[in-house]
Symmetry: D2
Amino acid sequence: MSFSEGSLKQMVTRVAINGFGTIGKRVADAVDAQDDMEIVGVTKTRPSFGCELAVRKGYPLFCTFDGEEKIAAFSDAGYDCKGGLSDLLAICDVIVDCSPGKVGSENLEKYRNAGVKSIFQGGEKHALTEKSYTSSANHSENWGVDCTRVVSCNTTGLSRTLVPIYDAVKETGKISVNSVMIRRAADPGDSSKGPINAIKPVLKVPSHHGPDLMTVKPEIDITSLAVAVPTTIMHLHAITLTLPSGHGLSTEKVLEIWGNTPRVIVMNGSKTRITSTAEVMELARDIGRKWGDLHEIFVWEDGVSLQEDTLYYFQAIHQESDVIPENVDAIRAMMQTEENWKASVEKTDKAISTYYGI
Amino acid sequence: MSFSEGSLKQMVTRVAINGFGTIGKRVADAVDAQDDMEIVGVTKTRPSFGCELAVRKGYPLFCTFDGEEKIAAFSDAGYDCKGGLSDLLAICDVIVDCSPGKVGSENLEKYRNAGVKSIFQGGEKHALTEKSYTSSANHSENWGVDCTRVVSCNTTGLSRTLVPIYDAVKETGKISVNSVMIRRAADPGDSSKGPINAIKPVLKVPSHHGPDLMTVKPEIDITSLAVAVPTTIMHLHAITLTLPSGHGLSTEKVLEIWGNTPRVIVMNGSKTRITSTAEVMELARDIGRKWGDLHEIFVWEDGVSLQEDTLYYFQAIHQESDVIPENVDAIRAMMQTEENWKASVEKTDKAISTYYGI
Amino acid sequence: MSFSEGSLKQMVTRVAINGFGTIGKRVADAVDAQDDMEIVGVTKTRPSFGCELAVRKGYPLFCTFDGEEKIAAFSDAGYDCKGGLSDLLAICDVIVDCSPGKVGSENLEKYRNAGVKSIFQGGEKHALTEKSYTSSANHSENWGVDCTRVVSCNTTGLSRTLVPIYDAVKETGKISVNSVMIRRAADPGDSSKGPINAIKPVLKVPSHHGPDLMTVKPEIDITSLAVAVPTTIMHLHAITLTLPSGHGLSTEKVLEIWGNTPRVIVMNGSKTRITSTAEVMELARDIGRKWGDLHEIFVWEDGVSLQEDTLYYFQAIHQESDVIPENVDAIRAMMQTEENWKASVEKTDKAISTYYGI
Amino acid sequence: MSFSEGSLKQMVTRVAINGFGTIGKRVADAVDAQDDMEIVGVTKTRPSFGCELAVRKGYPLFCTFDGEEKIAAFSDAGYDCKGGLSDLLAICDVIVDCSPGKVGSENLEKYRNAGVKSIFQGGEKHALTEKSYTSSANHSENWGVDCTRVVSCNTTGLSRTLVPIYDAVKETGKISVNSVMIRRAADPGDSSKGPINAIKPVLKVPSHHGPDLMTVKPEIDITSLAVAVPTTIMHLHAITLTLPSGHGLSTEKVLEIWGNTPRVIVMNGSKTRITSTAEVMELARDIGRKWGDLHEIFVWEDGVSLQEDTLYYFQAIHQESDVIPENVDAIRAMMQTEENWKASVEKTDKAISTYYGI
């Protein structure tokens, strides 16, 4: 909701978005759909085509900077700019930093000085915030914190499916995970980046994804490699997992666990003819969320197989959107408005669900 | 609207969709959004994942065939099937044929026998219906007809920008058009078709697109060539047009004409950083229509140039959706519910517009 | 060599190629370049554009079948056909089966009845030949056998780099390998197969590659997953390997081992700006072998890292050609003309080396 | 040839290559294969992986600059550098400038001061050299000139097929050409450039290709548009041509003309299953030239159609290599060693032909 009234007012968290781009615009809409929070402003660095969207959606527009000249540039271009970042910080409880990165530490200081809680995205390092977040891994550990970081799309994806497996066998022993991230090389709206016809390995090994998962779930032993491939639509993870002996699971049991896990979709590739990320994204378009987003991690049922202690599976990650609902939940953890992570997830997701029922 | 009541009833056209696929599902939603028509049923050939969408949207589900066994298969799979094609034909005024093609003539006979008006898509030949349609070219010529064909996405795109130019100069003389269609080789949800790394010429020359435009606007002299390229998201047309001498137009005048033409978007590529079809489709996702569709033809302002009698321009076509609103208008022409094509276009578009204002 | 004379005659193995396609034409050229073997004929199923190449290269042309009509079709098309498969079998010592697959068992019977030794390719299953081959894994085990199978391009690639690591630590214990094959979805000359913009997991898990490696080196414990991606030029393997504790290796030592391994190229990606399979293939074009082939497995030096007991590395596989020299070596094993695998490899490679020195 | 002796010496043109990259390395090999010219040196800006190739091929290596430090850097890296650009200019008759562009005018002055003839590539503008070249269009006009420019790959392609048509009808009247260049967006060895999934129009209209053709054949009236598409392997031209009335040609006659035109290959796409640029490049790999190059322009026979005065056709251009033999011919024109362009073409091509006969 954008506007709130009366007695409800006190309970509504006032949220600002610093950087109204690919992630920022999506977080804004997801927050706007909740009844316990509202968007009090979004920022752009300068008047640009992207301001149009903020205006049309009815979000108050601010300048990323405080300089008078920079603020004035907006009105010159015909946009009603409500002020600079300081003005925005003065009216919000929490700010979601969706700036393009590398300015994290500078921003954090501004937020702290203004006494505003802040959420960073996975482009920033754990060292900046010293706290990281995914809904299922460590909601309670983020209870009331002033600053956290929603991990990257890939790490969020790993957390979604690995945490429940970890939880199911943790009494028996540790799980040991081997993962390869096959990454889309550019986002759909980016026409400059390649490759057009090549596979590009990320030569720094292991890739950061495995260690990054351990910032939210240190108990999971995981290693990872990554490659970039010429597609724009999804990342895909190829995962091989060793369970502790005596784990007591079966392929069916694993599918059941994920079937009961929020924000995980399990579907049979051959029955539904969903044979690749192309058909997964087409399903997402049918579901009908804005931008054709898929917040859920997609697991191919017929690619899941537990053979003795080894669990194999593939999952697809919508890089532009799987972290969006996590940002909403993180706000509740920090603002201490919902202690139970599953309750927060349910509330978040219901507010953004479509006719499709999810 | 799906349900209508009372006195309104008489005025509401009852529309059926034969084939609830890529085009069918979109036409259904566009019709459903109008206040002068309603969806009375959509068909699927067999129980499949696609039925899910129809059910969730609340569209009555029918079987494409009349056989009892085929109909029963739906309930066996848990879907509430209302009957076969004959049952659907009994309760509709007009049927939009979105079947995958090659069954056109067989279907047309069924529709005629049932006394139901019908609209075919561009996959069928003009010879089948002997009448073709685009909103701007020949709405009035389709007034009250029993059967017509909404031309293909490419031909619709040509009609959108060429008809107003033709109209502007027709007193002076003819226009002569040279067009090359650079076609996306597969739709986004199709992972089987290639090429991955090649350009494929359509060796039948001229391609069917030029002659096809003449089925709706015979006065335009046009030739066309086509190639397929490894992208999934849009067709692009490279057009060179010779105007009659003494045409009185200028680049600015041409831009003004298109600025006033419905379902044409003119934007400056360098100012908006929309340099390719990738950014055009990203704009469409921001606009917020279902499936991220773009009903409008996109013209790059800075690619338009009139030099003496030669007009150059590029336009991008969203192959999955530009024909959708034309189907709605075609229903009004056939059902004689709106005589003025511009009024119909305005009514259609307003009903499916988003917060973006278009 | 294609023609041999005099006393040399006895020592020259007469080789036939059944199926002169992607693999067949390459094996023919590699055999032709050796001084201890000669091509006595190649087959095509029917007169076609591909016959042109055989004729121009001077390889006697035969029909894959024995029917008179089928043989006659070649002369009708202007090609000098020397006879049917039986005629070819009558004049060769060994036949390399490069037929498109699924006809393996039928062919094997014909070869056996004719008393001709045979080599199959990786498209056939191990069960057919009950013997599989890579030069470094099991040359001696194929000594004098009547029939073997050169494993697929991917399995050959795994064998090249894993066998020497296995050999280096086998006294200490077993190695355990986790591999993900990121496969090119279509060959460069194939414009029909997709996907254009998607990642496609191979849902049968584990993929056949791991088990397949064990047909030539059962001592290596390996599991594998596979995905197809929209590129035409190379497969890429992302490998994580657990060494036995006390292995005594280091990153440098591993690099040294591969530096001494035939048909493995180790290069530094950042120093040479070879950041993806695109630049690897460009290197291959510079090397100057026919078709721009790269028989060697390419390992990125700066992607190799041994951390405690875990070895990470990436390797690229030229799917069209890495098995070619293995076929030549396999002939020597079967014909008992060279017992030492390294000597055979050296002889094979020297005969097909270019000005580039490899 | 690299080395020449005795009385032949006087007749051999001493050729230098400034910039041993994509084009430079190919021109070097083509020159080296001729018996009336020799490579006296090639330059690199600094010691790099590319020097390796020059060394292995036996081409004397020079530094692009004259500074002692820059020259010394080569020996430090283990390469035998023969000196700077001045040293190279002192020993050559003609220098082929294959530098990456934007340094043309600076270079030209150096060449002039050294009294060395020079050839630039299509990346430079006609204004620099005031003379441009293709073998078939204006060999004689380049007779004895001190400086010329071999036009770009696309313009060379247009010249190859349009000049003979122009010649065939020039007595009757002018031809008027409409061309669209569908360009590969990046070369095969380039993994950084996109787009991955988009079509990108070149918004400057008309594109430079049409006007550029008129620098070698001003009599041809031509306009052009260009788009970039996500492929690496070839450009494709879609051409519509208006012949003067009374032209006397037919589709068959046009095919016959091109059949007799050097460096044009006409093949039937459906008979040979060459349906796209992928199969064309595969044919080139079979032909067996270095790098899998195709110097010829490929025309699809079944895409050629003359309907009244309108000629339609598609042609594919190997962007990396079609200009290579033109550089050799241009040397002969400038050095006045072969007056007849067809004789030069025949001599050039014979020297670089393969077992394939072309």
